[in-house]
């Protein structure tokens, strides 16, 4: 084991530690909120951290099968964010008071049912 490999091993462990820390910090933000977009940003960040994990583990173990998983994860994360953005836009802010979601029992007034689909 020469110096460069030792350096890489140390770097991998350091990176894993940093990533774990940032994972925890991000989870804290997701839990805390306080608004829905905050949580969405946090989830987005979690995807990024997960991809970082995949890359580092790929270097550490040489198992690079997961690179495609990383790409797919990026795709899914993108789709999720887009869908959440749509949701935020459609719902508006009125139902969210002080970061607490009111339980959605209010009836819809503007969308009336049609008889058939």
């Amino acid at each position: 084991m020469n110096a460069s490999e030792a350096f890489l091993t140390g770097a991998v462990y350091l990176a894993l530690a940093l990533l774990s820390l940032s994972f925890l910090v991000t989870v804290l933000r997701v839990v805390r909120g306080p608004t829905l977009p905050d949580r969405i940003v946090g989830l987005d960040m979690l995807v990024a951290v997960a991809i970082g994990f995949i890359a580092v583990i790929g270097i550490k173990t040489g198992v690079t099968l997961y690179v495609d998983v990383a790409i797919a994860l990026g795709l899914v994360g993108f789709l999720a964010t887009v869908a959440f953005a749509r949701f935020v836009m459609n719902r508006g802010r009125d139902r969210e008071v002080d970061g607490e979601l009111q339980s959605g029992s209010e009836p819809l007034e503007h969308r009336r049912p049609e008889a058939s689909s």
Partner: protein, 116 residues
């Protein structure tokens, strides 16, 4: 020789990348509100994971893995700004206000209309 360069480069890159990821998550925690948090998360975070993917591409000896890792990086570069933009736009349109310490708002009010 090339092994040694690969190892050092990959090591530096993953440290940089994870450092960026950590900074991004700290920013996510410390910054005061949603719009400013978004700066930290959707960019420094993306940069962090992207740099780590590049590290993987540098480290591996297989061309297919390297190209795939790079493809993943490019894909992030494509999607990250779009999702950030959409989320910011949606949040603004939905009426989430800017932080009270903000100094400037030139956004016209009619684009708060959810259909815009």
């Amino acid at each position: 020789m090339i092994d040694i360069i690969q190892n050092y480069l990959a090591g530096i890159l993953i440290i940089v990348g994870s450092g960026f990821a950590l900074v991004a998550s700290i920013g996510l925690l410390r910054l005061p509100e949603f719009y400013t948090r978004m700066h930290a998360a959707s960019k420094a975070g993306t940069l962090g994971s992207g740099v780590m993917l590049i590290a993987l591409a540098v480290y591996t000896d297989e061309t297919t893995i390297a190209t795939r890792a790079l493809a993943g990086f490019v894909f992030f570069l494509l999607t990250a700004p779009i999702s950030a933009h959409l989320l910011a736009k949606a949040a603004y349109a939905a009426g989430y206000p800017l932080w009270e310490g903000s100094v400037h708002d030139e956004m016209p009010q009619q684009s708060r209309d959810p259909d815009a």
